[in-house]
Structure formats: C-alpha cells, structure tokens
Amino acid sequence: MDIKVNVREAQGDTYVVDLNGEIDVYTSPKVKDAIGDLIDKGHYNLVINLEKVRYIDSTGLGVLIGGLKRVREHGGTVNLVCTNPQIKKIFDITGLVKIFGIYDDEDAAMKALV
C-alpha cells in the first residue's frame, strides 16, 4: 500500500529511480517529487525501475508521462524497467508502450539511453 523511492547515480549523467511497492493516487506524489527533483537539477536521462512495483494506476502513469514530457523538452528521455505482466499489460492497453522505452532489465534500459 506504500511506495519506497530510491534515487541513485549511474554511469554518464544518467540517474536510476528505484520504486518498490504500489503507485496509486496516495503514493504517486512521492514519486512525482523524486522525478521532479532530478529534472530540476538538470538530469534529463532517467531510468525508472519498476521491477519491484506490484501495482500502478492512472495517477502513477500520469507521473511517468509528466516526467517524460519534461525531460523531452531538454532532449532527454525516460526508459522504464518492467517485468510484471499485469503492469506490462497496462502499458499495452493504454498505448504507452509506444511512448516509453520499456525493458526487461536495467542494463538494457541503460544501454538504450546512450
């Protein structure tokens, strides 16, 4: 019912946001703040790792889309790591697969950034 957010620097000027838990209308502001902070500090190439996310709703998707919009304005991008079939299905249904790069592991998401 809660979300844990962990931000870490990776190679190059990329940052990884690890999310663990459930992203819904109650927890998504925390995710939004973490991503917003990174962008405010000038980091526009992000990997958001959803491997440990068990649940995401439209407010969570909205936060991801909002982040992508902002980094794109600076020529950056957001790649996602996602393996949970139910969450993959949600990206599929909503057509967000066409907008996000979605990868099975962090390495692949990272390589696709640079």
Binding site: E22, D24, V25, Y26, S58, T59, K69, T94, G95, I99
Partner: protein, 130 residues
C-alpha cells in the same frame, strides 16, 4: 452483498481496492482478472476524489454471482457532463484522461449514471470466464 464506505480521500483508495479484491477472490477469477477489478475500482474511487467536489464519502458495493462480480462505485458530489466520461488511448504524452479508459478496458460492462447534483453512479461487471 458487501458494502464499503470510505472517506473521499486518497489514503483510503487502497482499502477499497483490497476489500474488493478479497471479495473477487471468492469467485472463480484468475489472478489477472482480480488485478483488473482492483485497478478499475481504484480508478473509479480516484475519480470520485478528484472530480466529485462536495462529496465526502465514496460508497462501494459488491454483488457476487457465480457468473461474475458487479461493483458499484458512487459519490454524492457535483457530477460531470456525460460527454466527459469518454475514453482515449495515448498517442502523445499527455497527463490524465486514462482512468475511464482503463475502467472500460478492464471490465466487461461499464455503465455511468452521471448527474450534475446527485453525483455519479458507476456500475461495472467483471464476468468469470472459465
């Protein structure tokens, strides 16, 4: 019939989706079906919280039959115009507007009864497939 009433606040949506998932668990649903129901209920509650101004509670009722689960989500806030309850896919990154689309995609039958003063009454059905 199982009835649940929660305050119209973000922190209680998880209670609604977990309770409805527990109800759904008593039917012959797959895990994927239960996840669908959970998300649809959460989207409906989120909309009550974000759009139904003046309503301080959300009522959720579940009726179970061997063939499926009927979930009703209603608020008593200011409702919207029926046209607003449309749904769209995402072709460009735009924030918002996915909730009703997801509800319609995940449930087998979705009926909105939208009223500007009496609030919004959503009835949705998930059928047991196997």
């Amino acid at each position: 019939m199982v009835e649940l009433r929660i305050p119209s606040k973000a922190e209680w949506v998880a209670v609604a989706r977990l309770a409805v998932a527990a109800v759904a668990n008593r039917l012959n649903f797959s895990i994927e079906d239960i996840e669908d129901v959970k998300l649809a209920v959460a989207e409906a509650c989120t909309n009550c919280i974000q759009h139904a101004h003046g309503s301080d509670q959300i009522e959720i009722t579940c009726e179970t039959e061997p063939e499926g689960l009927t979930v009703r989500v209603r608020d008593y806030g200011r409702g919207t115009r029926p046209e607003a309850i449309s749904s769209r896919r995402v072709d460009e990154p735009r924030v918002g507007g996915l909730g009703v689309f997801l509800i319609r995609s995940l449930m087998d039958s979705v009926e909105y009864d939208v009223h500007p003063e009496r609030g919004t009454n959503l009835v949705m059905i998930k059928k047991v497939t196997n």
